[in-house]
Subunit: 193 residues, 6 copies
């Protein structure tokens, strides 16, 4: 494990990473470092318990990276919209950077962080974000008419599941991050500006 | 796959289960049927995509069944409290039944479903549920003082992570369930009354 | 007065029942015991002042039992919907049981307790519950368009009054019950499951 | 019945008064006219059904006029505070006038209508209004600590019941008034300025 | 400076007026006294710093008195609607009186103070007040459709600016008044009843 | 006037700048261009009416630049905190950049935009931002205890006025910006990262 990942507190909880990390975890972190230039702090935060880290990573990878009718950018747009409603500093920082990078449009990332409703997106994306926002603020009020509106914009039932899945996922991680005062890697702030 | 699990629509989405189920999944469902007397509809709902089912199940099992400073009943109490705030019919039905069964106190399950604040719990459990509720309604306002209050009630930093993890998890599943109009198995309603 | 009614604290306030009860009140309680198998705790709670008990009972009987274009089940459905918004443990317990019994559908009672918006009711009943819910959460925003929507579903002006009356009544009793920590009779929990 | 009371629509519902009024009701209205200089429109609104009128009047009279540890002015202060939260035009008009008259302080009535929190009242009255306001906005969150705060200000358990009763009552009537667009008598506006 | 303006505390802050007032300010106050019969306390409150007083007065005069497609009464109606949402005692008192006076309709002023949604106004004024109210409660959700609704009611783009400007202005002054416990001149209470 | 400032629509309203600008206004804009490298779009937006522009600018300059017990950075921190609650894209962009620049801490600007409650500020600044936030979300609930808390942190009554003034000012401009879909200059996004 590099010195850099060891000596930075990534949450307010005293839950140090397993030391040494199991080889497979160390390899995963090395790949992150190589590909992203950093090991996302959320992974370090979970690394006090390798089973939890693996369960979280598997779900994350399925949600954000697996095949889907939604593009990776669209999934990141949902991540930022949900996180802006929940005001999650960690997730807005990390996924705001992802939107800036994937879209090649730094202003779009800022706009979604600040007020998703007035951001310039397609009508389909707008419908997608409205569904994600309603799920975030009043999930109990979602009804068939809301699902149908997505279908009317061309989304399949599988797409609807994926929108719900991603919106649900960030409603989970926003809360874990806020509960633990999780701190984003500094590198995100200046990325893709 | 039994006829019973095949012909019931468990959500409002047209996402049929993989047919036939892979042997490992079928085995998992058979064990559920044997031990619980039913295959929870949430598992059938995810079974249109075995990778998603596996990722969800792994996280669920880690959250609710793995070793923790929180008892299984306490984790179910968090599940019901979060679900009552989000008014999730599926989760209140399934986990309300779990509280009734694990506590041996049918009234406690009802009370948490209806108004967790006035339910008769220990001061420690009350602190735990207050933290879970605050995470649910205004996660951005959680601060060190909230974590410290849990420590003052004897919770360790690992316990705090677990409370956050379970509360976060139901904030995810409540939304997936409401987004898809997921319907609970009828058996829950009369269980452990 | 029977021992059973005497020695149970039904609220958090130290307001014992008049002892002995006046003959007419005792007779009323005896009839409740005979017909319902219990004397509802709300009546015992009011019995520290017979004038208050009589005023409350008279209004209750007029609202819930007198002739109306609304069926008794529909009035109980309003009671549960309003009480679920106000999260009143007493009223949800007592009137949830009433919906289960009057409808012969245990799931309907649970569903209205947990999330009235997704409960399977007729379009007319849905309009009725939406009006009752809006009255509960933002009565100041009710306008002619809301009344007209009820008329469009076939409700008469007298029906509208009755919906408002019942919704208003539970907005009162929910608050009296919560203010005093009123406790429902245990028998309700297992009734009509 | 005087012409004046007959030909004015007092709500948006087409529910004319019983005509002629039963002698006892006519006598009640005549007394109102003599003592108050008007028949409150709420009574005319209920007079389409004499049983409902009687049940409402009996409860009103018990709440607002019967013996209580609360003065009549204090009960009117609760009425205005609750009605200001619910923004009920009828009740704010009628009971704002009552506060002005009973207190001999026109500004106090205005202040409670506009922002009860900053109105100049005694610490005891402030505690009373805070309890009534909490009951109005989040009754489910009332707990023993709230009742104890009232006791610490010298209120008896009977007083607590009465505060809850009056606050509950206006949470009912505010909703009946808003549901029906009930219009206050013009005379209230200029009274006791 | 007259004795009357000197010895009354107009806020909870210890910020006495500049003494003596500069000649131009004294002249402005004298004109107020002559034309309105009082010097509005808000001006006395700002008079601890003449630059601030001048900046505030200039903006006020431009908003409320300069040429506009909105009548002075309409601007006062916006002032009261915004102030009723923010429950500002000072502004409701002062501008409620202004609506009563400019409209010649004492009930209208009361109605807007108590519940603007049910006040009898023209459809155009209703659209104007809805826009002002939405700006007050959830400005981030205002979109092109909201602006277009105003245009459909005959408002020009310049009118839309003015509605926004006045609504914005009272969202500022309501907060300054509440932050400092600013007290309205007594004369407003009985004016134009 | 440069071409650049002329042909960009800065709001959704069709309100072109006075053309040519009066010499004094043109000079003001030239100074902005020289000192800031841009003419803030808010000034261009107001420039359809020079009186309005002047009134706005005078108040802005008094609030943000005049002598005060609050530093310019602290006033910008209030601006961002208020704007984050109101989710104003224009003001968050412009004043987020100002916090980054004045503090020399790019992360602080981001943090205040995303969740002011968890941003690393001094206890005094925290008290200041809490007051500004309470003023923004529930100004009617501000009471003497809130003012006293500021005094206990060393703020003078004049400082309290200034905090209220700046918080009030952004509650105005946030609404004017959102009402008109005001668009920030692109330069802000990359500034001081």
């Amino acid at each position: 494990m590099s010195k850099d990942t060891a000596d930075t507190a990534v949450t307010a909880l005293d839950l140090p990473m397993v030391d040494p990390l199991p080889p497979q975890t160390q390899k995963y972190f090395d790949i992150c470092q190589e590909k992203l230039g950093l090991v996302p702090n959320v992974l370090k935060a979970y690394a006090f318990d390798i089973d939890k880290l693996n369960a979280f990573s598997a779900l994350y990878n399925d949600m954000m990276l697996a095949d889907s009718g939604l593009t990776k950018l669209e999934r990141e747009m949902i991540a930022v919209t949900v996180s802006s409603i929940n005001k999650c500093f960690y997730c807005l920082t990390a996924h705001g950077a992802a939107v800036r990078e994937l879209s090649g449009d730094p202003k779009l990332g800022e706009h979604l962080v600040m007020n998703w409703r007035t951001a310039p997106v397609t009508p389909e994306q707008r419908a997608m974000l409205e569904f994600a926002a309603k799920l975030t603020t009043e999930s109990h009020a979602v009804e068939e008419v809301d699902r149908q509106r997505l279908r009317d914009h061309g989304f399949s039932d599988r797409d609807i599941w994926d929108i719900a899945g991603v919106a649900g996922f960030y409603n989970m991680t926003n809360r874990v991050a806020s509960a633990t005062d999780m701190r984003p890697n500094d590198e995100y702030h200046s990325a893709a500006r």
